[in-house]
Every structure is written in C-alpha cells, then in structure tokens.
Subunit: 357 residues, 4 copies
C-alpha cells in the first residue's frame, strides 16, 4: 500500500516534533518541511546532514518571503518552494505561527486540493473539525481540514474523556499552572511572578467544544518555569454518581497516553518527568504521554480531584498523527487509529512494565 | 485602662511583623522581642537605634543558647534574658522555629503563668484552640494557649468563612500555587521546577479543623517565586443551593481583610500586589489584606470558583492580634475583636475608596 | 532662601522615587508629578490621599494624550496639564519613557526656559552634559540640560571614581550580572536562561564618556531575578602601580554611597540587600547605597577585583538630586553638592555605625 | 587488542553520562555500573531493558548498603555486588557522592589493584594527579589514581590552555555566573536571588594547580537557572604581549572541544546551547563542547576578555575518557589521547562545517 505523503509547514518547537513523529510512522512518508529562515533548529538539522528521526532525510522547502541567500550562507540545502512541497503531499501539517495557517489554506491548500491539520494557534474557523484523537476521532474521518486542540487541552481531554467513557462526566473545574516559556525561549519569560488570566480559561471553553456534554470552567496562572504545565482537575460524574479514588485510578492506568507516576518513585514535579524523558534517551528529551500523579488523586464529596503534567513541546504530536489517520481514512475508528499511532511512536510500551500495588 | 503587655519570641520574618503589629495597637505595649543571634533583621533594627514601627523602641532579650558577645560585636544592645521578658508580659507571641514553641511553653510559659499565641509551625497539640480571628474568635476567648492557622489557611478561611456566613458552605476543593521562598531566602529555593505534594494538602485539613462542618480537600504545587501564594477555590453551598458570581462578589467586597482587585486595574498577578504595597509606602512593603481577583470568579454548575493572593509574610498578623484580644478577653466577640485590630492596623480604609460598577 | 521648584515627568519606577527624593530635600519643593494613565502607582498614591514621602502632597498633572475621564473614574484628582506644571517649576526631572524626554524638551522645556535632568533611557544628545554626582559634578554646574548615567553605570562609577581619586585608575574590565526585570514587571521577564549581549556593554562605554581617562570594556549577562544587578570589576591602576586589598577597602569604606558588607554578616546576595532595606523600614523598601562585598575583594597581580550590588530602582536618585544642585548652582562643588543630597536622604548615617576589624 | 574494561560507580547525573561515554569508545568495554537505590535514572534504564548508549547493555551492581528488595520491587535486574564489579574491571570511574570515592579507594580499589578516576567532588588528596586532558595529559600517563577538574574548571581550562599554547598566558581573572541546579533537581534551588561566594573561587585556585605558571583569581555568583554556567575570562599574556581579538578567535576556532558561536546565529544565551543539543538529537540532549561567544571577545588594553558556556552535566565526560587513556597508557601523548576520545564521541565534526567570515 502506498504510504501517505506528509509535509510539515513551520519547523519550530512543534514542527520539528511533527516531522519526527511522521518520520517514525511506517505507513507515512515525510516528503519535506518548510520554513522561512535558517533558525538554530535548521542549523542543527544541517549539522546532522539533514538526517532527522528514524534515519529519515528532511528535505527543506522555503515558504514565501524566505531569503534563499541566508540559507546558502549557512550551507543549508534547499529542495524547493512551499508550493513545490504542497504539490507533492497528500496532507500538510501546518505548524506555522498563528494566523499563517489560514492564509496558507487560502493560497495553497484549497487551490491545490491538499488536506491540512492545523495546530492550536489557529482560529477554529480554519478547520471543519476541532479534533482530539481519543475524544472525537470519528468526527475527523475523511474531513479535509482539522484543527488540533492546544497542548493543555489535549492532555486534559485525555483524562476527562478517559473518565467519561468509564464513568460518565458532566462537569469539570480546572486550575492550570502554566509553564510560561519553552526551554530555549527568551522572548516570553516571566521573572519571579505568578500571572493570572481572566477566567474562564480558553482550555475549559475548548474542552466544551470537543466534549459538548460536559460543563467546564477554570482559572489559569502563569508560572516562571519551562518544563511542563500542571493542571488540577475536579471532575463531577453524571447523575450524582460518586467517583472513588479506585475507579479513577483504574481508568487512568489503562490509558496508553497517560503515565501514572508517584512522588515516592521520585517524580517530585514537572522537572522529574522532563529529566526522565532525557534519561530514557528519547529524541530531544521528549515524552508523548502526560504524567498523572497517583498521590494527587483525592475524593471531594462525590467528585474526584487529580493533577496532571503536560509536556508542552510534544504532547500534541500523537493526536496530530491521529488526525492524519482520520482525515486520510487510514483507520476509520478511534481504537484502530490511535493504536497505529501508538505503535509507531512506541507509546504504551511502559504500561506492560508497570506494577501496581 | 492598663495596656496589655506583649512579648515576641523570634524576630524572623513573622516575628518582625508581629512586633510591628503590636507596636501599632493603641491598647497594647510591646515589652520586647527575643532572639538567638544577631541576624540581619536585628542589625537593621540597630541601624535604626532599635526604633521600630510607630516610633516604638524594641527591647531585645536573648533566648537560651544565645552568645552575648556576638551581639556586643555588632553593637546591638541587650535588655535581658528570655526569662526576664516572659516575667514582664501578659502574653507571648511565639514565632520561634517549629518545635521551639512547645519547649518554650513547658519551660517558661506554663511555669510563669504566661499566655501564648503560637504560629502555624507548631503542632496543634501545643495549644488549647486552633484559632482564626474571623472563623472561631469566640472559641479563643479567655484561653491560655492559642495556635494560629498558617498563612495560606488564614487567607483561605477568610474567604470560605465569608461565603459560609452569607450563604452556607459545605464543601471546598482548593489548588494551592505556593510561593516557595520569601524574598531574601537562600535556603529553600526551587529553580525552574513545579514541585507537587501528596494530596490532600494540610491547608485543606486545617480548614476542616477550624470549620468542621465543611468538607475540604486540595492539591498543593510549589512554584519558584517569592511574592505571594495564589489559591484557587471551588466552593459548594449547602443543600444544593446555587452560588452566583454576584452573590460571591458582594460577600467578598464587604470583608475588611479581602481586597477585591481586577486585572484591568493593573493587578496582573502576585507581584502586582507586592509592588502595590510598596508603593503605598507600607512598612516593609507589607499588606495585611489578601487579594481576590474579581475577574477570576466563575460559576461551575451550582458551585463558585475564584482565585486569591496570600501575602505570606504579613497575612497572619491581624489574626494573631485578634488572638491576643480573644485570649486576654479584651473584646468578647468576633465583631468587636477584629474591628479593634483592623482600626489600629489601618485595615479596611481602602474599602471606603472602592467604587464598583 | 526660596526653595527650588521641581517637577517630575513620568511617575513610573524611577519617577516615583525621584518625587520621593525631592520631597525629602529641605531646600526643594516638589511642585508636582505628571503622567499619562491611572497606573497602579497613582492608584496607590490616591489611596494615601495623594500624600507621598515626608508628608508632602503630590499634585498630579496630565501629559499630552492623557484621558482625563480615566483618572476621574479612579477618583484621582488632577491639578492641571503638563504645560501648567512646566510653567510652575525651575527644573524638571524627566523620567518619561525613552525618547519622550527629547520631545518634551523641544515642545516644553526649551520654549518655556525650564531646565531639565534626563534619565539614562534618553540619548546623550538630549543633554549638554552626561552627569554623575561624584565623578563630574562641576561639569554640570549651571548647565541647562543634564542626563544621568543609567543605574548600573551610576553605581559602577561610584566605585571606580572612588579608587581613581585615591589611587589613579587607567583601565577597568567589568562583568555585569544584570537583573532582568523589576519587582512587579510582567513584560520583560526571562525564564531559566542566562542571556548575553554583544560586547562591549554600553555601561563600559558610558563610563568612558564620564571618565575619559579610563579605558573600559565589559560583558553583560541577563539573569532571571529582580533584586539588584551584581557587577564584578577588575581595575588597573595607572603607571603599573599595585592596588592592594587594603587600599581598595579603605577607599570604599569612606564613600557615603557605598555600603561595604560581608557574607558573614548575612549578606549572601542581592536579595539580602533588598530584604535589609525593607527591614530598615525604608520607604518602598529602597536603598540608595550600592552594596560592596568585602569578601569579594581579591588581588589579581597588580589589579584589584571586587563585586558590587546595584539596587536598580533607587540607585540613581541621589545623583539626580545632585544634578539639580549642580544645574541650579545650589552648590558649586562636588563635595558640597553631594553632601547636601546625602544629608536630606539620610545617606551615610550607617557609616558612623560601622565597625571594622 | 583487548578492550579496556571499565566500571562506573554512581549512576547519577555524571555517572550516567560517563557510562554512555565509555559505551561509545570502540576500545573500551563498559563492564557495569553501580548504585545504591532504584533512582529514576535506573528506572528509565530498566524501561529500556537496561540498554544504554550505542546499544550497550548496562549491568547493574549494588554498592554496600543497597537494599536488594527495593530493586526487585522495581523489576530492576542486579548483576552482582560492587566488589564483583571491581574485580572485573581494569579501571573504575568513580562518580559517587563526594567523600565516598575516598572510602571506595581504601576499601576496594587499592586492595584489589584497580585503577580509578575520581570526579571533582573528591578531595585532591585522593589522587596522584589532578588531571585535565588538554592541559596536563602526560602527567596522568600510567598513574593509578587521577582526579578530574570540576565542570567549570574543565571548560575554563580548555580556553586558557588553548590561549597559553598559542600565545603564553600569565594571569587570568574570572567571573563565574553559576547555574545553581541541574534540570530535575529540587534539593538545591535558588529563587529570585543572586548569591555570592567568598572570593577567590575554587575554580581559580584549581586552575593554578593544573597550570601552575598562571596566576588566577575570580568571583563566583550563583544564579537561579539550570542550563549551563557562563564564565567571563580576562586573560593577560606573558611579557606584556598584546592579545588581539583575532589572535584569540583563531586559537579558539581550532580547538575541537570549543564551539564558537554568535548571537546573530541565534545563540542568545545558555538555554540556546541546551536547546541546540536537544535539536541535534544528542542523547539526553547533551553537548560535550563548551560554547564560546565570538561576539563577547573584546580587548582590554593588552588583555583579552571573552565569555564561555559550560554544559555542566556533560562537559567533564571527554576529559574523563582522556584520563582512562592516560592512566591505562592507551595513548602516551595529549594529542593522541584526546584525538581518540574525540573520534569516538563525535567531537569536532562540526568544526569541518563551520564557515568563518
């Protein structure tokens, strides 16, 4: 069977990881990546002779406005224009800066009949479906334009959808303790301050778009760290049903993209999960699973409360690969689609190793 | 009427502010302070000729184990021993390091018949009553040994008690976004990490001790900042009653020790409140009120959710002064006791200035 | 003798402190302050009934473009326009955002014949003299437009000028470990990163403008903290002369605006000095002196190396007051001018208390 | 030729990387690693079926006091005791906590006739030679016990030795802007403070031990970041010789373990180098080279000043491998020894790619 041909627009924090994710799929071909300037990310790629994940060569295409001579000065080889790339693919993963995706769609994707998956920075209106691999896979099947949930929402929904399918959820209230910058960022830091946003947070609103039967609200506080958001969730079951700690724990432990951890093992906070992924030897020190602290799960009346860790750089990659599978009808159901993604990304392997007391 | 004679044991972050608070009470006399070593706080006091808040002279007494020559080397005058101080007061405010308070009680307070108020670092068993000025003032009236709630719990209870008296509360779930160190601390920092504690947090448990009719739980996450904890609270009313945003807002706006603020005014986070207190010209840049963001208040089904800011260095001072009033029977009711404290500390003045739309 | 009438343009971090500094001078009158919007700083002032330092009322004037109704909505009283203020003063302290000072000069100060002192954010060309109270006071005497050195340069020059007058300095190499934001800033933070500027740093270049006989260069690294820059200085004497540790120490200890401290006393870093100023009860927790660690002074061949702490919010206030004295010919010499400033700001009092071993 | 058999004591931040480094040497065999408790690092290794760098299996031995059942509970396979490991190797790399190395030497290495290389945390007296691969390789040849310089000193000496061999250096003055914790650390953080040590810093003293003909001093300031120390160096040539920017730059560009970078390329600070190493796909996101900013190099009279970045987790690995080569007489000269290490670690490859203007 012919491999699905995929391109990646924008080789930033997310784009690099999307390219890696595609390169690891046995049934997809990474045709190329596109960017505007010879960033450090591209200089690093060139230092590796343009070889990325899985031994795959990443061909670079230049988007409109790029200065070819700047790439030549860095000895970064160029394979062609963004239009060339668009003409060679079945589907584009658009991780360009917010707003550029919409203009890419109008100028290239629609005229050329190319499907596209947009990241969370774009407006919802750019897409036919606001997508999450586990929560609404089937809605994306065969659709031309999908938009992924943002990093916090993606991880959050994994847990709420997980509880919802097991128990039935009608309401959640979240507190997002947001990391304010990625490692290597200098332009959006925060120093010795917690900064609060007006409530409700957009992540709660986005959750309701994906899971319309759930009422969600929340408060977001920015914190001066780089290694993963932490979210506390208070979830209420339907019909006044009580959710016990055991019910929640059992549900979470079965989910391939939720890594249940404990403080006693050594997972003291978000930096432990970052360090653990580095120590695993994962490419770029990334982790696809969210962390969920078993020691954080407490009952509040009939409700359940818990805390999760969102590895913001990499968490949306699996669901974006799911989106390719849905859009391209590679698999028609949530179970089959996510299973293929998980297989190629090595997700869920640790589940077999986990022993629970 | 004779002024109540008060001593302060431990001139650290809390002790300095307790001394200042007592010095500002028209019906109390600060007999002296006690400490072990010539810390920077004492060097600063001596640079001011031992004159503290309100033009009051702070007489220094040395606790057991202090090396008098170290104080002489710094030209810090010494008025006597800790026993001397204990013998000259009606009541001691004990802000010594955790555990020392219990030994002070056994060795000095009980034998000498001196009452004492302990801070949150001591075990509950050190005191007859676990005390909060607004939530259970009457329980402390006439008691010999009271223990104050810790900084987070003190501020949190102000809001929960406030809602409880207006509406009736049966359950709260909190997320504490804890500042990890005070300005000037070097010994307990955290760098680029969010650290999580096992749930439930002790603050939730403490709240239930003070307000036994409320079920409370919560998760605490440490963050690398110094200017004030932020807590999000989800409160559920008794009997399935709905709490509207307006009901909560109206209740909070009336409370003298709750400063309702908005992001639009410029209160973007905890550092804004710290800066504002400095710009007010408050001594040490302190604030006695907690901040409560009006823009954070959101409804979650019948529940209400909101975020508060806890100025950890100074928030417990008013309630500790309340405790003196209760223990010494200076005022017999919560309304009278807290009103006198507020008057002398200048709390609530800003309420008259606030205009609400 | 008539008091010199002073206005302050811009009530930000520096402007607030300039107003306070002027209000403390017995031979100056703070006519008013001017700003554009009802910032938190102005809301705090209004909460104090517009009373600032030393019990002085701060009259507020509005600059061009200000929306009067925004001030009315906050109940902040307005005394008039910026032009009104300019017409009522002998000299303006311009702490408006960078660039605005130049336009203020063209539109108001020159036409109205008002003298002005500009802060470090303006270009040097805005002024007749680039000024430092200790290093070149006499150059500013009688001049109409002076520009102050920036915070780092002001503190740095205190020490280099101090050594130069005692020993004779021909070369300095500095490393600036820069705090990246002020307490309360949210717009220019840095998170878990050290950021480096192209060398040489502008502070080294500025030093050479003020002290043209010294060759200076340096490297600046931004760090994610808010409580004071630290600078290391390597100074070389003229003619191959050796500077001993003792020579340097003796010179520094005599300077009123240099506070020599030690790690053993408890001054472990920049946050200790911030805390100490708060514990002194200083308004806004400010300190006018720079800190200089005695334990940091080491000999490097014939050169001397040492580290200083720059309290960035307040360090330029004394030299700006000096600039008023020079420009208005209140005192004609460096010794007399700085002495008057020091007297009214309470600088140097601690010198009498210091005991050296 | 038989491979040299190497063991690693202590599988912490350094030990993990030492094991990886040995696993990558074609002429060495990693016999095993030893540790005390089932840390996250070991849990990560076990999640990879005990396979580490280069596809090599890492056999785990337990040190005295280890609780075997704790490893069994985590399903971490154990190969034997520390004594077993010692008996199977030619040389041990000891990266146990400070002080343990000395007791390992007395109890195991000396009695069993095993050579050992100690890390910077041990006292100098533990070893025959205080070693640096580039600065004094020959001194280590055939010696039984070597101690490596610490991370800052290792990187610093690369540059000073580099200049010394080209130009001749007699004096350096350094400012160390130290990162205070590693990513994943919770026990030694610092929050919103710069902390200063008593001068001179031990790194300057250590440099003089390795390079006794150079006079060195320096000041160290701790900063709340995790991604690499930055050091500024002021170097003075022998005999009053002037070092031009070009001379220094040419020397640095030729050194395999110095990566010269520029701000314009995007290397804005220490976090850029950390990110770059992750983007290179390096195991654990590590980098063996130090960074040296070309834009930081400035002349100060006859002296040269520059800034370097020290990747504290991995910088000592190459010099430790050099130490094995020297101690085991695998290569007898600095040039041959470091070249073999570089070849197997992939160091210096980027040099061929660099284009200089």
């Amino acid at each position: 069977m012919r491999k699905i041909r995929v391109g990646v627009a924008g080789y930033g924090t997310i784009g690099q990881r999307l390219a890696d994710g595609v390169a690891m799929q046995g049934d997809m071909e990474l045709v190329g990546i596109a960017d505007l300037a010879p960033t450090l990310a591209l200089q690093a790629l060139r230092e590796n002779d343009m070889i990325g994940a899985n031994g795959v060569k990443y061909n670079l295409y230049l988007v409109d406005g790029a200065d070819r001579s700047a790439f030549d000065a860095c000895d970064i080889p160029v394979a062609g224009s963004f239009e060339d790339l668009c003409k060679s693919v079945d589907i584009m993963l658009d991780s360009a800066p917010g707003g550029v995706g919409a203009s890419n769609k109008a100028k290239y994707y629609e005229p050329l009949g190319v499907k596209a998956i947009f990241q969370g920075g774009e407006k919802n209106s750019v897409a036919d479906v606001f997508f999450h691999g586990y929560a609404n896979y089937e809605k994306g099947v065969g659709q031309n334009y999908l938009k992924l949930t943002s990093c916090n929402t993606t991880g959050l929904i994994r847990t709420v959808d997980c509880l919802d399918r097991e128990i039935g959820i009608e309401k959640v209230a979240i507190t997002i303790i947001r990391r304010v910058a990625d490692p290597g960022d200098y332009h959006r830091g925060l120093t010795n301050a917690l900064m609060i946003d007006k409530a409700p947070s957009h992540q709660a609103v986005d959750l309701m778009t994906i899971m319309p039967h759930v009422e969600a609200t929340g408060i977001l506080v920015h914190t001066p760290v780089t290694h993963g958001h932490i979210i506390t969730v208070l979830a209420t079951a339907k019909d006044g049903k009580k959710i016990t700690r055991e019910m929640a724990l059992n549900a979470f432990r079965k989910h391939p993209r939720i890594r249940t951890v404990t403080i006693d093992e050594g997972f003291k906070g978000n930096a432990s999960l970052f360090k653990y992924a580095r120590d695993l030897g994962n490419r770029r020190g990334d982790m696809y699973e969210i962390g969920l602290w078993e020691d954080s799960i407490v009952e509040s009346g009939n409700d359940i409360m818990y805390a999760i860790n969102i590895p913001q750089e990499s968490v949306t990659i699996p669901e974006t690969i799911d989106a390719i599978r849905a859009s391209m009808k590679m698999q028609l159901t949530r179970e089959e689609g996510t299973a293929e993604t998980n297989k190629y990304l090595g997700i869920g392997k640790f589940k077999a190793l986990q022993k629970f007391n």
